[in-house]
């Protein structure tokens, strides 16, 4: 029992000594200089970042700043935009594949969304052509 009590006493004394470290403080002026140093560091970090990185940072800040419902709505809108874009592109490629052998009489040149082909003014071929998005053309045909 005595040795246990002695051990406990030693344990308490160690704890008491450690508690005294709560009185320790940093050197004078540390906290005042700390904030200035942090500002200097943040300025340097900003200077070293690319414009794109800063822009993306602002977008992220704005995105996380809106509520959850709005985030879900925006995500849905982005998804819908991508799907519509893919729909037009795929529809255009399909139409070109199916109707590429038709005669010259009345050709409708189909341009997928994002296609680089543009009709040139005065071009014979282009006078008989109408520029219609492929997806809308096939959609209208069905009705």
């Amino acid at each position: 029992m005595k040795s246990e009590e002695a051990e406990e006493q030693k344990y308490d004394q160690v704890e008491k000594l450690l508690h005294l470290k709560r009185y320790e403080q940093p050197p004078e002026g540390f906290y005042e200089r700390f904030l200035d140093d942090l500002h200097d560091r943040q300025r340097v970090e900003i200077m070293q970042r690319s414009a794109w990185s800063l822009f993306w940072d602002r977008v992220e800040t704005w995105f996380w700043g809106v509520g959850t419902r709005k985030r879900v709505y925006l995500a849905g809108l982005a998804y819908a935009t991508v799907m519509i874009g893919l729909f037009f592109r795929v529809g255009g490629e399909d139409y070109q594949a199916n109707n590429g052998s038709q005669g010259e009489q009345s050709t409708t040149v189909v341009y997928g969304v994002g296609s680089s082909k543009v009709p040139v003014l005065g071009d014979e071929k282009s006078s008989n052509e109408s520029i219609v998005p492929a997806g809308i053309k096939s959609f209208l045909r069905e009705f």
Binding site: V14, E15, Y23, P26, T61, G65
Partner: protein
């Protein structure tokens, strides 16, 4: 789900909610207020782990810089203080792993209120009456003894004995069980007893 045995604890509202929201929206003044508010508490944690002023300054700068960059991902599942405290602990432990066993110790100033503390009076009553020398000697002995511990043991001693954090919170921050926290504390205290034996005589 509430139960009779374990009633759901009411979480204290985060007193920093307003400041955090403003800082998240890019208000740098709000973030500065958080820095000013928590630097003293975090200083204690990092300094007692590193025992060096310059290292403490550098680590704390890294902590707040990281906190600023990560603020938009802070999900408020804990208070802001708990969140930034966890960042501080992890970054300090990583820093110590890189630093290795290099020991360049620097001593802090001491609040002279320590002279009225009964524990200090007891610790120095048998020693030289020149108190200032004893304060310095006490600091050095404690710092050397703490540096003899492993980083993980020093962390629990700093958080529990020096900063007065409860076991449950320490276990959450370190990601270990409460039992592990208690056993680390027990082992660390045994080690410190040996290191401080000469001073206590």
């Amino acid at each position: 789900m509430k139960s009779k045995k374990n009633p759901q604890k009411k979480r204290k509202p985060d007193e920093d909610k307003g400041l955090v929201a403003r800082a998240r929206n890019g208000d740098t003044v709000a973030f500065d207020e958080l820095v000013v508010k928590y630097t003293p508490r975090l200083y204690g944690l990092v300094y007692h782990m590193t025992s060096n002023h310059e290292d403490t300054h550098d680590v704390l700068q890294d902590v707040f810089a990281k906190a600023y960059r990560s603020l938009k991902r802070f999900q408020e599942k804990s208070t802001f203080y708990t969140w930034i405290y966890s960042i501080s602990v992890n970054m300090t432990l990583n820093f110590l792993k890189k630093r290795g066993r290099r020991r360049t110790m620097s001593l802090d100033d001491v609040d002279m209120a320590i002279e009225r503390d009964p524990d200090f009076i007891e610790a120095t009553s048998k020693s030289d009456p020149v108190r200032e020398v004893n304060i310095t000697e006490l600091q050095e002995r404690l710092n050397i003894a703490l540096q003899e511990l492993s980083d993980d043991h020093r962390a629990v001693v700093t958080m529990f004995d020096i900063q007065g954090m409860p076991h449950a919170e320490i276990s959450k921050i370190l990601g270990v069980s409460e039992g592990t926290v208690r056993s680390r504390l027990f082992y660390a205290h045994r080690q410190l007893q040996n290191y401080l034996e000469e001073f206590r005589k």
